[in-house]
């Protein structure tokens, strides 16, 4: 694949690889819709050059299912809690939640909201996403 020197990761994912689950909400690092993981750390794909992460493991929302197709616990919990509203920010919210739970498997609700705070939800479904994080970490049943 031919990647231009100045090309952003979001551009490569969406336009070159057809991975459109990663959204562009602002393209300026101000919303979080493009959040992906690089070596398990959540970053804004709109504000990362593809060449900057060429030696890192990049995971998008499309890559979270288990090999047998099972949803990631965060995805399952977000469905259970009806976390998404319009859904445009959801992939980013999922990726930040996954990054959080890798680093801190049982966060408090306060820790969760700090960790998720780089993801705007314009619909205002924050309460529902936090419930989803708590459920995915086994703290809500």
């Amino acid at each position: 694949m031919d990647v231009a020197p100045q090309e952003t990761l979001a551009h490569t994912l969406r336009y070159k690889l057809g991975l459109t689950g990663t959204k562009l909400g602002c393209n300026r690092g101000e919303c979080g819709a493009c959040t992906v993981l690089a070596d398990d750390v959540n970053i804004y794909a709109c504000s990362t050059l593809t060449h900057e992460v060429k030696n890192r493991a990049v995971v998008t929302v499309e890559g979270l299912r288990a090999a047998d197709g099972t949803l990631h616990p965060v995805q399952a919990a977000f469905i259970e809690e009806l976390s998404p509203a319009c859904g445009f920010c959801t992939a980013g919210q999922v990726m930040s939640a996954v990054a959080l739970l890798k680093a801190n498997p049982r966060p408090t609700r306060e820790e969760a909201r700090l960790a998720m705070s780089g993801n705007v939800c314009r619909c205002g479904a924050y309460d529902h996403y936090l419930n989803g994080v708590m459920r995915a970490s086994g703290q809500l049943s």
């Binding site: 231009a4 020197p5 100045q6 090309e7 952003t8 551009h11 562009l24 393209n27 300026r28 690092g29 101000e30 979080g32 959040t35 750390v41 959540n42 970053i43 804004y44 709109c46 504000s47 990362t48 050059l49 060449h51 900057e52 930040s96 700090l114 960790a115 998720m116 705070s117 780089g118």
Partner: protein
């Protein structure tokens, strides 16, 4: 008024040795753009408000990574991310002021890639300037914000000199409070500059916020042991508690012995183009007990010589209040 979303065409260098990076930067001079985390880079370029021929990605340079102890404190590689700073056990233990400041920058994702060097080197956030208007700082000959009708709520109340933009950095004031030393390399070698002299106002150079010039690379930040384990106070007041830049921030380091303030460094962010040191406050509290009464005795000492614009008078009481909180030790 065109609005862009794509990065402009440019070349990319990814050196792995700092000497190579310096070589490239020197050769490209003003047409090269150093990238650490890139979080104050891509917006400028996408907006076409600034241009460059090439990006020089420094992230491959191992020598600019890591936090290590030195004979007199610690040395933080320029590429250390803000998240790494918030999690580093030594910084958290001895220099928690810096960890706190780094932890309030922007958002988690930005802290995950944004570097300490980038946070102190970022350009001002004046919205007129960011918009690409040809103001003084952009090389023109007027200021849109410093006018009777300018929308200048976030602008400077001190030391304006044609430009009224403020320093947006949360870590800058903390580093000056800690008497950090900035390690700068260029083709002629290495120099070490006190953080206080690293930041420069528009009276000295209206086009730059730091002393870095093309060919210079900030490679590390050294924090001396002088203020290790001191009494610290950090607070940032912003509109929103994520993303937003400070309306005013305070970074204070104090040596308190038996409840008495023996020495202090009190810095305020977002009130002028550089971190503002409050020497009058430092003098006023020296030898005084760290309590409510000392705090209240300061009155409006911190803001008394401010020159507010139309929409930013609030920064005066806000900085006075933050100074009081730092001195009395509680919000």
């Amino acid at each position: 008024m065109s609005s862009h979303d794509n990065m402009p065409e440019m070349s990319l260098y990814q050196p792995v040795q700092v000497e190579d990076a310096i070589g490239i930067a020197t050769e490209l001079a003003g047409r090269g753009w150093l990238v650490g985390g890139g979080q104050d880079t891509y917006g400028w370029l996408k907006d076409r408000a600034k241009t460059a021929d090439a990006l020089i990605d420094l992230k491959g340079i191992e020598s600019m990574r890591g936090i290590k102890e030195t004979a007199d404190g610690i040395e933080i590689g320029a590429l250390v991310t803000l998240t790494e700073i918030t999690r580093d056990p030594i910084i958290k233990e001895r220099y928690s002021l810096l960890a706190q400041a780094a932890g309030r920058v922007a958002s988690p994702q930005i802290r995950n890639v944004g570097t300490l060097a980038g946070n102190v080197s970022q350009d001002v956030r004046c919205w007129y300037y960011r918009r690409g208007l040809n103001c003084y700082r952009a090389g023109g000959n007027l200021c849109y914000a410093d006018t009777p009708e300018g929308m200048n709520r976030e602008h400077a109340i001190f030391n304006a000199s044609r430009c009224v933009a403020v320093t947006p950095s949360d870590t800058g004031p903390a580093l000056v409070a800690l008497e950090a030393q900035m390690v700068i390399q260029n083709a002629s070698g290495q120099r070490v500059v006190p953080a206080e002299d690293f930041f420069i106002g528009p009276n000295l150079d209206i086009r730059h916020t730091t002393i870095l010039r093309p060919g210079d690379i900030l490679t590390a930040v050294r924090i001396p042991a002088k203020w290790a384990n001191a009494t610290f106070y950090f607070e940032k007041v912003a509109d929103r508690n994520a993303w937003d830049f400070a309306l005013v921030s305070i970074s204070a380091a104090m040596r308190v012995n038996n409840g008495v303030i023996e020495d202090s460094r009190i810095m305020v962010g977002a009130v002028q183009a550089t971190p503002r040191r409050l020497t009058s406050v430092e003098q006023a509290i020296r030898g005084k007990p760290r309590n409510e009464s000392t705090a209240n005795s300061l009155g409006n000492l911190a803001s008394s010589d401010a020159n507010p614009l139309n929409y930013n008078h609030f920064k005066m009481p806000l900085m006075d209040n933050l100074v009081k909180r730092a001195v009395r030790g509680q919000a």
